[in-house]
Symmetry: C2
Subunit: 229 residues, 2 copies
């Protein structure tokens, strides 16, 4: 490693030498640095193990939560439409479609840094034949970055990508569209920039860890009225 | 908690009801979510403990490294001037000053997320009387965000903040200045935006973990010439 020191650029000739030049110092530095690097590696491995352990512990709770969700009317579509950023890409007809979304799952890969997938489980519905739509992110250094989405088997005349993207925006709710995706299914099928998929990250890191806050709409306006009375 | 559900916004009236309305489902959801939240809390605490453990293990190695560094001529000023972003804010006269920098220290607070400090230890030098200049970042929710820098006791006529910031830039090396700070001491004394202190973060997360890569300049140009021969 010290042999890599082909040239060490001195900053100036006016340097005060607090000690004589010491040819062994660089090698000792490198040896010490290697010990630091090894500790960093061990720390990363230990943290990964903690994350994996808690992912295992959380898994049955997420599954239990998923079963409870099925007993709550329109849970996921309500959480989606109440989420400020996700709502921006939801067209009304997509909301109708997401009424058939019965289960959401976010699964991190065993080696957490290598990626994750989002599974959307659907009931029988008038829009497509798939039971599950999956968007999967490969972010590891060997396999990624890339993302891939299930091909949607649209029923005849029900392809929301065609009907929504070709007609002028039927934007009744006057939502602002700050995001790059035009509609929900435009997002779902867009795999052009997997490392900056804002909607996927919001689902994984914000909606999925605690969706109840979005399902429950704090009734701020009513409270304000109460104060005025 | 379920009492906070003042209004749950339904997404549409055309919803298919896969099950009867279940008044206990929200409460069961909330109980399940509390278990998930508790696990998240435990995971964060465990990860913090791992980080603290390894910070303790690394500390003597960083101290050892700091002693070895003192035997390497102009180590820190060379690493600074070879670092692409830090070099951008280094004026020539500041490099002369940093020839007297004998020791660099980055110390994370015991509760890592609450902040860190960078200590610059100096020899007797012609510029100021301080032995140590510290820039300290308080980023915790209770104490921060704020940063504070040691007041520099400039020797007469040697205040680099005055001499460098009032004269036109003496930018011999024609470095690009993409950063918001004009000079090194301008950065050191600027505490206006502690959460976006790019230089401090580069020192903490990039230079400090492995400074050797910046001290050693890979001799790319010479290698290219060799290939041409
Ligand atoms: Ca110089
Ligand atoms: Ca609707
Ligand atoms: Mg679910
Ligand atoms: Mg040192």
């Amino acid at each position: 490693m010290a042999s890599a020191a082909k040239r060490a650029k001195g900053a100036g000739d006016a340097a005060p030498h607090s000690a004589e030049e010491d040819p062994e110092a660089l090698e000792q530095f490198d040896a010490c640095q290697n010990e630091i690097d090894a500790l960093n590696e061990k720390a990363s491995e230990e943290i990964l193990k903690v994350e994996q352990k808690y992912n295992k512990l959380r898994k049955p709770l997420f599954e239990k939560r998923g079963e409870i969700v099925k007993r709550i009317n329109q849970f996921w579509v309500t959480a989606f439409t109440n989420h400020p950023q996700i709502a921006e890409i939801l067209e009304d007809e997509e909301e109708e479609c997401l009424l058939h979304l019965t289960k959401l799952e976010v699964e991190e890969f065993e080696d957490i840094k290598s990626g994750y997938r989002i599974n959307f489980h659907f009931d029988e519905n008038p829009y497509f034949d798939n039971k599950v739509l999956t968007k999967e992110f490969h972010l590891g250094t060997t396999t990624g970055p890339s993302s891939v989405s299930t091909t949607i088997q649209w029923k005849e005349g029900k392809n929301l990508l065609k009907t929504l993207l070709t007609k002028p925006f039927n934007n009744k709710n006057k939502r602002k569209r700050n995001l790059e995706y035009k509609t929900f299914f435009d997002w779902f099928t867009d795999n052009s920039d997997p490392v900056n998929d804002e909607i996927a990250e919001l689902i994984k890191d914000d909606l999925w860890p605690n969706p109840l806050q979005y399902y429950l709409v704090p009734d701020i306006e009513v409270e304000a009225e109460d104060n005025d009375d």
